[in-house]
């Protein structure tokens, strides 16, 4: 396989070597050749959508092969199989883990057309100049490197970006309001004995630990110095609380993939659990009530971006830049925002959404008409508002980012024990 790729690449390079060297601003020159390019992208299910690959073929002409995996597998693949992908669609905490392997190459910011319009969270770390930076692996802390080839991150914005931010969101607990029948407003409810045997948490250690920390802090059991970088004692205490809850039968199941979380919720096996936004959408589109409950302690947030494999070069690298610029130009953003995510460049996405959709998803306004998902399922009636409100309200209330800690290996072993307990 890789041999075939190589020979094809070599031929391509030979044919367009001179053109490719100078041609980036003039796509016409190699429009024919780029049609033969295939970029292999892999990432979590959230943004690896076949619709995107189809649209790329239509708009840009080249082929994008998508592989969707769970977060752990994504990390593993990015860290150990650099030749198996051209584009890695990963989260920022994964970037912190994978960047030092040297499997990814930094991107030249000056080639990114919409760079100036990317929201502040990914550049300075602040949504607005007054915002406070949340705990955890905030995207801007691993978003830049001082110079190409560097294996450490830069403290401020530079010309070399590790990941081009694509999507992000603020996560919270999903609930079944019809089965709970009373208001829920704190993370502590996850361990409320009232929901014994009907709660769930996700079995992905680096994300699960953050949800646990939000719960323990909300219960008033633990005061963390930094939830995104716990000490061993904090980790021990957190797991002690959750192990006890597990042994008392608090949890119905743990989930690892998106589909599992949807099925647990839709079947009524679980009424409160950690959940991702489109999973709520998926449950709702089956006609089952499900709320992405805003909680007073704030959100656990995450962000993803596209990274380039270090083996990418020549016309394929140019195609990758083309793809990134296209990604930020609005169509994908609109597509993802209509699922409940946010685009890194919201203003370009606005052109690809109706006024009603923009108002509902981004501004937190009442829907003026039926809101449908990109696949056409009805998600909300006219008059309904989005759980959690507007972009600023939601992203402004982020309590922590998904993170990898210094004590990660210790935490992972503890996590393994927790699962086996």
């Amino acid at each position: 396989m890789s041999k075939m790729r190589y020979s094809r690449r070599t031929i391509l390079k030979g044919g367009v070597a001179t053109a490719a060297a100078t041609a980036f601003p003039a796509p016409m020159v190699w429009a024919q050749e780029i049609k033969d390019v295939t970029l292999r992208q892999f990432g979590t299910g959230v943004s690896n959508l076949n619709d995107v690959a189809q649209k790329v073929k239509e708009d840009l002409g080249f082929t994008l092969e998508m592989t969707a995996l769970d977060s752990d597998s994504v990390t593993q693949r990015a860290a150990t199989q650099p030749d198996s992908f051209d584009i890695a669609d990963i989260e920022y905490w994964i970037c912190k883990k994978v960047w030092p392997t040297g499997n990814l190459q930094a991107m030249d910011v000056s080639k990114i057309k919409n760079y100036d319009k990317i929201v502040g969270i990914f550049k300075s770390g602040k949504l607005t100049p007054e915002s406070e930076i949340a705990q955890g692996t905030a995207p801007h802390t691993v978003g830049f490197i001082p110079e190409p080839g560097a294996k450490t991150f830069a403290d401020e914005q530079t010309n070399w970006m590790t990941l081009i931010p694509t999507i992000y969101n603020a996560d919270t607990l999903g609930i079944r309001p019809d089965l709970i029948g009373r208001p829920i407003d704190t993370w502590a409810e996850l361990l409320n004995p009232e929901f014994k045997g009907k709660a769930s948490i996700l079995d992905i250690s680096s994300i699960g630990i953050m949800d646990m920390a939000m719960v323990c802090e909300a219960m008033g059991e633990i005061q963390y110095g930094d939830k995104g970088n716990m000490t061993r004692e904090e980790i021990d205490k957190t797991f002690a609380i959750f192990t006890e809850a597990k042994q008392n039968g608090q949890f119905r199941a743990f989930w690892k993939t998106f589909d599992e979380s949807v099925n647990l919720m839709a079947s009524g096996e679980v009424v409160i659990q950690s959940m991702w936004s489109p999973a709520i959408t998926a449950v709702k589109s089956r006609g089952i009530p499900c709320v992405y409950q805003p909680l007073k302690e704030g959100y656990r947030s995450w962000g993803g971006g596209i990274g380039l494999s270090s083996s990418l070069s020549g016309i394929e690298l140019d195609a990758a830049y083309e793809y990134i610029n296209w990604y930020l130009s609005g169509w994908v953003g609109g597509y993802l925002m209509r699922q409940g995510y946010y685009s890194a460049v919201p203003e370009t996405s606005k052109d690809f959404m109706s006024e009603n959709e923009w108002g509902y998803w981004f501004e937190g306004k009442e829907a003026t008409d039926i809101i449908t998902s990109p696949t056409g399922d009805k998600l909300a009636e006219a008059g309904e508002t989005r759980d959690g409100g507007s972009f600023e309200e939601r992203m402004g209330a982020v309590a922590c980012w998904n993170a990898v800690m210094d004590e990660n290996q210790y935490m992972v072993r503890k996590w393994n024990e927790f699962i086996a307990a």
């Binding site: 752990d72 597998s73 990390t75 593993q76 860290a79 150990t80 883990k97 994978v98 030092p100 392997t101 045997g197 769930s200 079995d203 250690s205 597990k246 949890f251 119905r252 199941a253 743990f254 989930w255 690892k256 099925n263 647990l264 079947s267 009524g268 096996e269 990898v404 990660n408 290996q409 992972v412 072993r413 996590w415 393994n416 024990e417 699962i419 086996a420 307990a421």
Partner: protein, 303 residues
């Protein structure tokens, strides 16, 4: 496996001194070579690799060559390991007992109660029909059936047998073992059926002529003669259950763990050396179990 190799290579060393020629010995070795190579590359080498890696160290995202006992120290130092190994044995033992009971009954019925051979074959093929779909599908299809609002619970409530849905039907040891039994009973049926088919009917007639009751001839004639089949089935079921991880994960909703899950968790978190160490211990454990089983029956002699 190694037994086979030795047998094939025998002609070499034995023949060589008699004929006083190096040629025959060489030919013997050459004849055995293909099998030796296959076993070295696909059996021995991977195991050696796993053993070596089990002494390596790991960082967040990479592994580095080293000779350290940390992985084993952590493994033996954690009480989770013992609990998980105990759970693995528990699953294996219960699944074995149930598959044996069902498998023997089915094989007995097929061999002694079904008269015509074509009927026997037809019924036997019937047993294999579920195996035309994938393992995972057969397993997952239990989930909607056993769920809180699943078919089993709603039927029982409708019949008035229970008031509240039974929570333990799904995401419990019960559902894990149910899936195991469902998945692996055929591995018991096939070898037992095979051996029962080869029992000479004359022996049963002789037993009856000598006044043995049906039960007596079952215990004293049929059972001893099917022992090799039972043993082969046992080895299949025990090794399959002890090495499994996906059934436990899905059917227990990640609430229970066996050794396979410990390994798969480690791998997914890039902790290959620790996974390798666990795998080595599991391998030794399984080999010991099989060693003990083989003491009861000499399979090679019986077959």
């Amino acid at each position: 496996m190694t037994e086979v190799v030795r047998e094939v290579t025998l002609p070499g060393p034995v023949d060589a001194p008699r004929r006083k020629s190096m040629g025959a010995g060489l030919i013997g070795w050459l004849q055995a070579m293909p099998l030796v190579l296959v076993l070295v590359f696909f059996l021995l080498a991977p195991i050696v690799m796993i053993v070596i890696v089990s002494f390596w160290g790991a960082t967040e995202f990479s592994i580095y060559p080293d000779f350290q006992l940390d992985n084993y120290a952590f493994l033996f130092g954690s009480d989770v390991t013992y609990r998980v190994f105990f759970a693995t044995f528990k699953y294996a033992a219960i699944t074995w007992a149930l598959t044996l009971a069902i498998g023997f009954t089915v094989a007995y019925f097929l061999a002694f109660h079904v008269r015509s051979q074509s009927m026997q074959i037809a019924l036997f093929l019937l047993c294999t029909i579920p195996f035309w779909t994938s393992n995972i599908i057969r397993m997952i299809s239990w989930i909607p059936f056993l769920g809180r609002n699943g078919i089993a619970n709603s039927t029982l409530i409708e019949w008035g047998l229970i008031e509240q849905p039974l929570e333990w039907l799904l995401y419990s040891d019960f559902s894990v073992i149910l899936a195991f039994v469902h998945l692996y009973t055929l591995f018991m049926v096939v070898p037992i059926f095979n051996t029962t088919m080869r029992i000479d009917p004359v022996l049963l007639e002789a037993a009856r002529d000598n006044g043995a009751s049906g039960f007596q001839s079952l215990v004293h004639v049929i059972l001893p003669l099917t022992k090799p089949g039972i043993m082969i089935g046992t080895i299949f079921v025990v090794t399959l259950v002890m090495g499994d991880f996906i059934t436990v994960r899905f059917m227990s909703g990640s609430q229970r763990a066996n050794v396979g899950r410990l390994i798969s968790n480690d791998i997914s978190l890039l902790q290959y050396p620790s996974a390798a160490a666990t795998a080595v211990i599991l391998l030794i454990t399984v080999l010991m179990v099989i060693g003990i089983l083989l003491r009861f029956v000499n399979i090679r002699k019986e077959l």
